[in-house]
């Protein structure tokens, strides 16, 4: 039997004295066990870190390394109909401060750390650059906060200069700034944005969703010191610029309208004036101006009352301009025609109220054309009585009174035209001559555009289209059209309105435009009292018409608010119409009926004008009504 078998059969263990080699093996086994235990712990930790808690650590790591920069989406531009910029965005600089850099602080171990920079010295350096008082800046720098704007949206070059100064605690960031390059041209139409780029007024507010770009995002990796890792991960989600808006406005015509509105306001001491130019066939608004106006770049200095686009937000009694609509309705109903002669008495009494003409006339036999030419209240009321309240109301509403024009302009008024069942006994005669009813200047212009368009109403529009990323113009939907009166009726009214300007007894002779046949109607209405029933002592002077009369292309409507001492539409508003219509016709390249002037005559006329200007330079600066 061998020795191992013998040992195995022994009943009790026998202590065997190991040799040195066996002890070493034994210890090594223990060491291996401990090592394996430690290895197991390490592996377990690895599994925990790399598998179980991996997403959390990955996020933590990313947040430490990643630098996310939001890329602002550039706001869309606003152009006029020819692509001239009315509103755009430029890069400006915003300067901020970290006031912690300008105050001493204590470390956790109780040591006092002095300020990193001297607030007074930094304020003195920045004051001339930011054009602010040094004491104001110092107050901001020593504030009890962690962040303070020192100046927002200043010139980019100024920002670069400040950045190059390397001032401790002062930072400069790029910030988009909305700017209106033409110093307020069409400011009331375009509107403005807030300092953070949100649309607040006008079309900027109306089309804010369209103009706003979509912000992008740039993710970079940075080293602990804050430096970007050039070869690190770089993820770019580009920003999307906003859609550009192309308006129907014509910059040249808009300027002429604004200038004319400002001049007539100043010349007649008026509270304000509005001028609107409309293209007949398309409904395009070529100009929409009101005085007093404001510059959106300096809106903080302007009276908020001037921000309104009063051509669409404010309403007024149309006065005699309403007579064309009343007579058109009567012609359409077959009650009269332009040549029909009516006996017009001195006055006409309705519900114990007697109406006369502005200048009472003896009883006369006038044709309907003469009634229009002379702007006879009595004749128009007589025609309206034949028409009746129901039909008058229907036609006036069909011409657009009492309802929105559909431009969607913020704050657009629908005007005031009471339902016919709420009319007073005197409503029929007053509404027929433009009292007791209120319209916006756009509604008035659009009703005359309907007459000029042979009786077809075209919804006015201010937006011609949009320009997307591809740079192509996407035209707006064609405006809605509807027939209001027949072409024959409209043409009869056109001829009658031409007599208002060119006829011997016409009230609108000052509206004539050299070389063109013009049709239009004057209006003079008393303003309703603001604090009581009835009328105040102020007037509204209006003129609305179209040219060329033989093929109407453009409508110009003028409203002057509270002119004085002269307040008649034919004297106050008609010259403005003439000036603006002349400019608009030339700008739209509408040929005159008789171009006439030869080059030699034009050169001679220019020489004469220059000589006259040299004699009286002051007179040349502001053209007289005769020159217009």
């Amino acid at each position: 039997m061998t020795e191992p078998r013998r040992l195995a059969t022994r009943p009790r263990r026998r202590i065997v004295r190991r040799g040195a080699g066996a002890t070493a093996v034994h210890r090594l086994r223990w060491l291996l066990g401990v090592y394996l235990l430690i290895a197991a712990i390490v592996v377990a930790q690895l599994v925990r870190v790399q598998v179980v808690d991996a997403p959390g650590y990955a996020d933590l790591s990313a947040s430490q390394r990643a630098r996310v920069i939001e890329l602002a989406g550039e706001r869309g531009r606003i152009y006029d109909r020819d692509g001239d910029v009315l509103a755009t965005t430029v890069q400006a600089a915003t300067v901020y401060a970290d006031p912690r850099a300008f105050r001493s602080r204590e470390t956790p171990d109780g040591r006092t750390v002095p300020p990193a920079a001297d607030a007074a010295a930094v304020a003195a350096q920045l004051a001339p650059l930011l054009e602010r008082d040094a004491s104001e800046l110092e107050e901001l720098l020593t504030g009890d906060n962690h962040f303070a704007y020192l100046a927002r949206q200043i010139d980019h070059e100024v920002g670069v200069t400040i950045r190059e100064l390397g001032l401790e605690g002062i930072g400069v960031i790029a910030e988009p700034e909305r700017t209106y390059p033409a110093e307020g041209l069409a400011g009331q139409v375009v509107g403005f944005t807030g300092i953070d780029g949100e649309g607040l007024q006008g079309l900027e507010a109306r089309y804010d969703d369209l103009l706003l770009g979509r912000p992008g995002m740039l993710t970079l990796e940075r080293a602990p010191g804050g430096l970007d890792i050039a070869s690190g991960t770089r993820e770019l989600i580009p920003s999307e610029p906003g859609t550009d808006l192309v308006l129907t406005l014509d910059r040249e015509v808009q300027h002429a309208a604004e200038r004319a509105a400002a001049e007539v306001t100043a010349a007649h001491g008026a509270a304000g004036a509005s001028v609107l130019v409309l293209e007949v066939g398309t409904g395009d608004i070529l100009a929409m101006a009101s005085a007093p106006t404001f510059d959106p770049n300096e809106r903080g200095d302007a009276d908020p009352e001037t921000w309104r686009n009063r051509a669409v937000t404010d309403v007024f009694e149309p006065g005699s301009t309403q007579k064309a609509l009343t007579i058109a309705a009567a012609i359409e109903e077959g009650l009269v025609d332009e040549d029909e002669v009516l006996r017009v008495p001195t006055g006409i009494t309705v519900a114990d109220k007697t109406f006369t003409d502005a200048t009472p006339q003896p009883t006369s036999d006038w044709s309907v054309s003469e009634i229009m030419e002379r702007s006879s209240n009595v004749g128009t009321i007589a025609i309206a009585q034949e028409l009746g309240a129901e039909r008058l109301d229907t036609y006036l509403r069909s011409f657009g009174e009492g309802s929105s024009t559909g431009t969607g302009f913020p704050g657009e008024s629908t005007g005031l035209l009471s339902p016919v069942d709420q009319w007073w006994s005197t409503s029929l005669p007053t509404i027929a001559i433009g009292q007791g009813v209120a319209v916006s200047l756009l509604q008035l212009a659009n009703s005359y555009a309907t007459l000029g368009n042979d009786g077809v109403a075209v919804a006015p529009r201010i937006v011609r289209g949009t320009v997307g990323d591809d740079g192509r113009l996407t035209p707006s939907a064609d405006p809605a059209e509807r027939r209001v009166v027949s072409a024959d009726t409209a043409q009869q009214v056109q001829r009658m309105l031409e007599r208002v300007v060119s006829g011997e007894s016409g009230t609108g002779s000052l509206a004539a435009v050299d070389g063109y046949r013009v049709a239009g109607k004057t209006g003079t209405a008393r303003k309703p009292s603001a604090d009581s029933r009835g009328y105040a002592g102020e007037y509204i002077a209006t003129f609305v018409g179209f040219a060329p009369a033989e093929d109407p292309q453009l409508v110009v409507a003028v409203m002057v608010d509270e002119p004085g001492p002269v307040y008649y539409g034919g004297l106050v508003a008609a010259p403005v119409f003439s000036e603006v219509m002349g400019t608009a016709l030339a700008s739209r390249r509408v040929l005159p009926q008789d171009p006439g002037t030869s080059l030699e005559d034009a050169i001679a006329a220019a020489a004469a004008a220059r000589a006259e200007a040299e004699v009286a330079p002051a007179a040349a600066a502001v053209p007289s009504p005769a020159e217009r």
């Binding site: 001239d84 910029v85 009315l86 755009t88 965005t89 430029v90 890069q91 980019h156 790029a174 700017t179 390059p181 033409a182 110093e183 041209l185 970007d228 050039a230 070869s231 770089r234 910059r251 040249e252 300027h255 002429a256 200038r259 050299d514 070389g515 002349g582 030339a586 040929l591 005159p592 171009p595 006439g596 002037t597 030869s598 080059l599 005559d601 034009a602 006329a605 220019a606 004008a609 220059r610 006259e612 200007a613 040299e614 040349a620 600066a621 053209p623 020159e627």
Partner: protein, 149 residues
């Protein structure tokens, strides 16, 4: 006594003795070339060094290109900024009110009612053939009304 029968022994078949003629031809085998450890080590070092050099070089190139790309992007951004600013500047310079004021300062006067001229002959734009026009130097209308404008 076991119930299992012991395996039966099979008689060993006597193999015939090999003869010397059956033995394969023996030949002298050249000893394997001695492995030069140093060479392997050098080769490994070279490969590793090359790999490291390549990696570092590529990384450096990537970093350099990234810096260059960033500079280009910065130039693009600056170019876009300048373009937007120029666009605004041009629009401001084209402002009709500014042009009017500048014209007045230069001594120009507001245009009269004659905004259209009756020309005594047709221009190319109106369908006239070039031959009917005199030369450029002789045409007094050329600077103002040329179809080339």
């Amino acid at each position: 006594m076991s119930a299992v029968a012991p395996p039966r022994r099979t008689p060993r078949v006597a193999t015939p003795l090999r003869r010397d003629t059956d033995r394969p031809q023996l030949r002298v085998v050249q000893p394997a070339r001695p492995v030069h450890t140093l060479l392997y080590a050098l080769a490994t070092i070279v490969v590793l060094a090359g790999a490291i050099f390549g990696t570092v070089t590529l990384n450096a190139l990537a970093a350099a290109h990234a810096v260059e790309a960033r500079e280009l992007e910065a130039r693009v951004v600056e170019g876009e900024r300048v373009y937007a600013q120029r666009l605004a500047d041009v629009a401001a310079l084209e402002d009709p009110a500014r042009i009017r004021d500048a014209a007045m300062e230069l001594g120009l006067v507001p245009a009269g009612p004659s905004r259209h001229l009756a020309l005594t002959r047709a221009l190319p734009a109106d369908g006239a053939v070039t031959e009917t026009l005199p030369g450029d130097s002789a045409d007094p209308l050329k600077p103002v009304l040329s179809a080339d404008r």
